[in-house]
Amino acid sequence: MNYPQIPKSWNIESKPHKFCPGCGHGIALKALGMVIDELGIQDKTVFGVDIGCSLLAWDFFNVDTIQTHHGRTTPVITGIKRANPELITIAYMGDGGGYAIGSQHLVNAAARNEKITVILVNNTNYGMTGGQMAPTTLPGQKTETTPYGRDVDETGYPTLGPEMVAAIAREGAYVARGTVANLRQLKGFIKKAIENQMAGNGFSFVEVLSGCPTNWRTNAKETWDFIENTMTQYFKVGELKVPGKGE
């Protein structure tokens, strides 16, 4: 697998990007950039970024981009799509934005089958604010607010986002979980998600398993090992809901 070229839709002026070394956002956004290029939708795409590390992507693409508030990207993007259905609208957020502070928006957008695409990066912690426990923090995982490891009796189990969305969304929705460890597959999921919106089928949602070496305090090898081997024990990679493929 090799994608050396920079996506055409990237904004070169804002590169090198501002994410930490080894952060997974760059890979997720590369996959998205390639999809925008392949589908030829740079002129019709509106990109919404949440607060959290995703806020850094506000000038990442040569695509109209709105930086919103923490958790509120889903409604802003919904509002845009409802007002102008010709646009292809993508909400980009982290696990805190999607599963904690903005969970009601995610749940209800899925329930209404909004014709939008949500891409949610799961790195098991709040990166921007300094590595606190997120809804996705694994049992026993140490964070700044679970210094002795996440105690599931106290704080519950990791949120299974795509499973939740797949349970809520109805016919026409597309739901998948990809990983930055498999760019080709991730790109395919994101492409299908956006195509699903373009076809007017319904809500589309892709969770992206990603790494946060800065807050995990891991080196490159440990980071990839955690994404590929530890996270995938809880978060199963694959498609959960594909229109026309039965339930």
Binding site: D43, V46, T68, V76, T78, G79, A83
Partner: protein
């Protein structure tokens, strides 16, 4: 599909919420986003009945945060978008409205004030003045019209969309439960027939052409890295806001610049205040006047100072524990006019009470 629900001038007798829905259609609003809360619900009820007939849309959201942020989305897409709320819903609205303030997004929010704090009553108050003028983590770069009648509701909803899109500051119509639910007469009209030109919206996102190729991408942010960067942004907002104040400020008065005692009230209470002053003048009292700020943000500071410097006494009447009072005190800081008050949080104020207060303090 019919073009407009109103042609010519039509005297109607209906609730304020219904008037607002008609005004929004006549202002060429494209889409309403909303979440149920009393006493604004019927704005949504009437809008959803009218909207499909005139090619307009509605989305019922999961809460007021979403109603506010989807409204922002609608505006970003270049549509005249609006929402309506009250009380605890207005509290939630402050988050999206602070984003609109930072990014100069011309949202229109209609507030039908109910009792507070907390859930309180679903009936009436003037307790959302501070929140509507200065809510959110910002500086109050907003335009707030306080209406007092159904005619105001019709006029200022139409005007409010124009103000929002002309000046690009979030704009608010501050009504209340009485105005929402009562029936009274007003005249509806087609703004075009009165020579009112409606400002056309333009998209912030999704304009024609490929970003980075045919045009610059629209990259909008509200987060900044340094103190200095933010300072510059906020000072530019302040400068832009201050520049429009003279054009935006509105007030109504009666004998206010000649009187010894001036009664000040806004919104629906101004009706009782104006009635009281008319009654007193008719009874032969000469030194009484009435002043009503129509814009609570920006406030008519120059006029209030002039009055405070000339008059001996002010009587400030409001259905809150002093939210307008606080703003007036700030506006007239340094003058030594005597201030009297009728402060009735969440309760209506009658003309009789104001007349009695005048006799008590004059």
């Amino acid at each position: 599909m019919a073009n407009k629900p109103i042609t010519g001038e039509q005297r109607v007798f209906m609730t304020g919420n219904e008037v607002i829905a008609y005004a929004a259609v006549m202002a060429e609003a494209d889409i309403m986003y909303g979440y149920p809360i009393t006493p604004q619900n019927e704005i949504m009820h009437y809008w959803t009945r009218l909207a499909p007939k005139y090619g307009k849309k509605f989305l019922q959201t999961e809460d007021e945060l979403s109603a506010g942020f989807t409204t922002i989305g609608g505006v970003l897409a270049g549509r005249k978008a609006f929402t309506a709320t009250a009380g605890p819903g207005n509290t939630l609205m402050q988050e999206p409205m602070s984003m609109a303030e930072m990014m100069r997004i011309p949202t229109l929010l209609i507030v039908q004030q109910r009792g507070g704090p907390s859930t309180a009553t679903v009936i009436y108050s003037q307790q959302e003045v501070t929140m509507t003028t200065y809510g959110g983590n910002g500086e109050g770069f907003r335009i707030v019209y306080s209406t007092s009648s159904h005619q105001d509701l019709y006029d200022y909803v139409i005007k409010g969309f124009n103000t929002a899109w002309k000046y690009r500051f979030p704009t608010f119509i501050l009504g209340d439960g009485y105005q929402a639910k009562m029936r009274e007469a007003c005249v509806m009209y087609d703004p075009a027939e009165r020579g009112i030109e409606l400002v056309k919206p333009t998209p912030y996102m999704g304009a024609p052409g490929t970003p980075g190729v045919d045009r610059k991408p629209s990259h909008m942010r509200n987060t900044y890295n340094t103190e200095e960067e933010l300072y510059e942004v906020v000072m530019n907002l302040a400068k832009a806001y201050e520049a429009i104040i003279p054009e935006v400020v509105e007030f109504e008065e009666l004998n206010a610049f000649e009187a010894d005692t001036v009664i000040i009230a806004h919104g629906v209470v101004s009706r009782a205040a104006k009635g009281a002053v008319k009654e007193l003048l008719a009874e032969g009292e000469k030194k009484v006047g009435y002043f009503r700020p129509i814009t609570l943000r920006p406030l008519a500071v120059n006029e209030l100072r002039e009055i405070a410097q000339r008059a001996k006494k002010l009587i400030i009447a409001e259905s809150s524990y002093g939210q307008l009072l606080k703003q007036i005190k700030e506006a007239i800081y340094g003058t030594d006019v005597e201030i009297h008050t009728i402060l009735k949080p969440g309760v209506g104020i009658t003309q009789e009470e104001i007349v009695a207060k005048y006799h008590e303090v004059k």
